[in-house]
């Protein structure tokens, strides 16, 4: 086993996904298959190999510190599922 049902449930928590028991079962099986396949990566010697995190080097893009117009408030809120005309609304957060 590369990943247990409990781990699958922990990962779902981290990713903020509710998964039902059936999905937990299925994902555990499928993730195990996929992670087993990925085991082949361990057969490659990568000593002293820099990881490649960007496909392209040599670009350097800075923006000058000049104010550009923001979005009009109605456009900011146009797609919001719940708002009060000024802010986005969420269930009360207890800190």
């Amino acid at each position: 086993m590369k990943i247990t049902k409990d781990q699958v449930s922990h990962v779902a928590d981290l990713a903020r996904l509710t998964i039902n028991e059936q999905e937990q079962e299925l994902f555990t099986k499928q993730l195990n298959d996929i992670l087993m396949y990925m085991d082949m990566l361990n057969s490659v010697d990568t000593t002293n190999v820099e990881p490649m995190t960007h496909a392209m080097e040599g670009t350097e893009a800075f923006r000058e510190d000049v104010v550009r117009s923001s979005l009009p408030l109605d456009a900011v809120l146009a797609n919001a599922p719940d708002d009060d005309g000024a802010s986005f609304k969420v269930p009360k957060i207890i800190e």
Partner: protein, 477 residues
């Protein structure tokens, strides 16, 4: 058992740029909710961050001012967690390769001083703000602050007392404000501090379990929170308990720290390099260019003032409290050539009036050149120190030059010995009884004669000259 506190501080300073770190929205404080937002800082689908050059420049300034090594290539990383004030579900920050590492600041605390080492300085974006409804089970999300640039300055756990913690914080604050890269307003949240605190038996090299303190929004609160937390941990340890690693919030009203409520789930931020942003390259030429723009920092300035102007350490401290005051003082001192007198005028009269009238040093109605001239006019005897106070008042209210005020009021000091001798003769002749007393040994009466002469000359007589003539005449020659 005697315990020793071990304190490390993490400071978040908001950089004083015009625009956010990754988009062109304004960073101005106090706008109506969500009016300083755009697709980028709202985290809409498909948009991309583009780095504000000034953010890097300011961060490099702070790194240089704190003697850090600047990494020529630093990298952006995503810190992943869900929270409604974090629009993308991750904060763009720096992790493995921060902008700068391994610096220090020196504190002028007790005799030998104290060096606090800085682990790293990195750049990151701020989150938005949540407003909690008092009457309904709702919170409101305002993203104006989302994407405002921050630098995080992480110290080594080098501090051993709340006083050292507070002194370190004041030093960082002073440098940031001097560099003009941060407003340093703790109430508006543009200078924030979290602390890591642990105790260990004195002499023990290993650290104890630490707690993280948050929510301290003034220098005073930082010191109070540290003091409280040290006492709390000491109590826990002395009563045989163990300190739990946790985050605690400072409660200003109660004067205590309390464990953070809600989900204490283990954080797993899943940092990884941000593919949307290329690594930040800071070449030596750019560093040199920025270095050339660095102002003299407060500590160096203080030392130079003491050395160069031969003024007391106390004066040097007051005069270097801000760049504007220091610059002003230097101009006054240079103009009049009397550094100590200049110091007295700036510290007393100028700063007093500034405070009283609630104006900014930058808006001081008396120019440094005019104040310098005023001091010179006292020095060369044109006016007396007493007259100068009146002239100063008028200069403050009208903004006029000292020469103009003096001329307008006809305030020129009488330095003509012949004219003064006549006045002295008159006074002596008019007060024979007092003359007798004086000659009989009652020297206190001398002040009476000075007063009479000043009255007759409307205060315009040169006090030195009056003294000299009076002494001569009264001693009966």
């Amino acid at each position: 058992m005697e315990y020793e506190p071990v304190i490390g501080l993490e400071v978040h300073a908001q950089l004083k740029t015009n625009t956010k770190i990754f988009c062109g929205c304004s960073t101005a404080f106090g706008a109506p909710p969500n009016t300083h937002t755009c697709p980028v800082c709202l985290g809409m689908p498909g948009v991309l961050p583009v780095l504000n050059r000034t953010v890097v420049e300011y961060a490099v300034k702070m790194a240089l001012a704190t003697h850090c090594t600047i990494n020529h290539v630093s990298e952006w990383a995503r810190k992943n967690y869900f929270y409604p004030d974090l629009p993308k579900g991750y904060q763009i920050s720096q992790y493995d390769r921060p902008l700068a590492e391994r610096g220090y600041v020196d504190l002028d605390i007790n005799e030998e001083g104290k060096r606090v080492n800085i682990t790293r300085i990195h750049m990151e974006e701020d989150a938005g703000k949540l407003i909690h409804d008092e009457s309904a089970p709702v919170s409101y999300v305002d993203l104006n602050r989302a994407g405002v640039p921050l630098i995080e300055i992480v110290s080594e756990p080098d501090m051993r007392s709340p006083e050292e913690g507070a002194a370190y914080l004041r030093r960082l604050h002073e440098i940031l404000v001097y560099l003009e890269i941060c407003d340093g307003n703790m109430e508006e949240g543009n200078f924030r501090c979290d602390a890591n605190v642990s105790l260990r038996p004195k002499g023990e090299p290993a650290f104890g379990t630490r707690t993280e303190l948050k929510n301290m929004n003034s220098f005073r609160n930082v010191q109070r929170a540290l003091e409280y937390e040290i006492r709390r941990q000491q109590y826990v340890l002395e009563s045989g308990g163990t300190v739990i690693q946790e985050t605690r919030l400072w409660d200003d009203a109660r004067g205590t720290t309390l464990p953070m409520r809600g989900k204490e789930e283990a954080h797993d931020y899943r940092y990884f390099p941000d593919p949307d942003l290329v690594p930040v390259t800071v070449a030596d030429e750019w560093i040199d260019e920025i270095r050339r723009t660095l102002p003299e920092l407060p500590r160096e300035k203080r030392e130079r003032f003491i050395r160069e102007y031969e003024i007391p350490a106390y004066d040097a401290g007051v005069l270097t409290a801000s760049r504007a005051i220091a610059d002003y003082y230097e101009q006054v001192a240079t103009r009049c050539g009397k550094p100590k007198a200049a110091s007295n005028w700036v510290m007393g009269d100028i700063l007093g009036h500034i405070k009283e009238d609630k104006v900014e040093m930058e808006d001081c109605p008396i120019t440094a050149a005019d104040l310098g001239n005023l001091v010179r006019l006292i020095d060369d005897g044109t006016i007396s120190g007493k007259m100068a106070k009146d002239v100063f008042e008028e200069m403050w209210s009208s903004g006029e030059k000292p020469e103009t005020v003096i001329k307008k009021r006809g305030l020129v000091q009488i330095t003509d010995a012949g004219a003064l001798e006549a006045v002295v003769d008159e006074v002596i002749a008019a007060n024979p009884a007092q003359v007798e007393q004086f000659r009989g040994g009652k020297e206190k009466v001398f002040g009476f004669f000075v007063g009479q002469v000043m009255k007759k000359t409307k205060g315009q007589a040169s006090p030195g000259l009056v003294n000299e003539i009076l002494k001569r005449k009264l001693s009966g020659s």
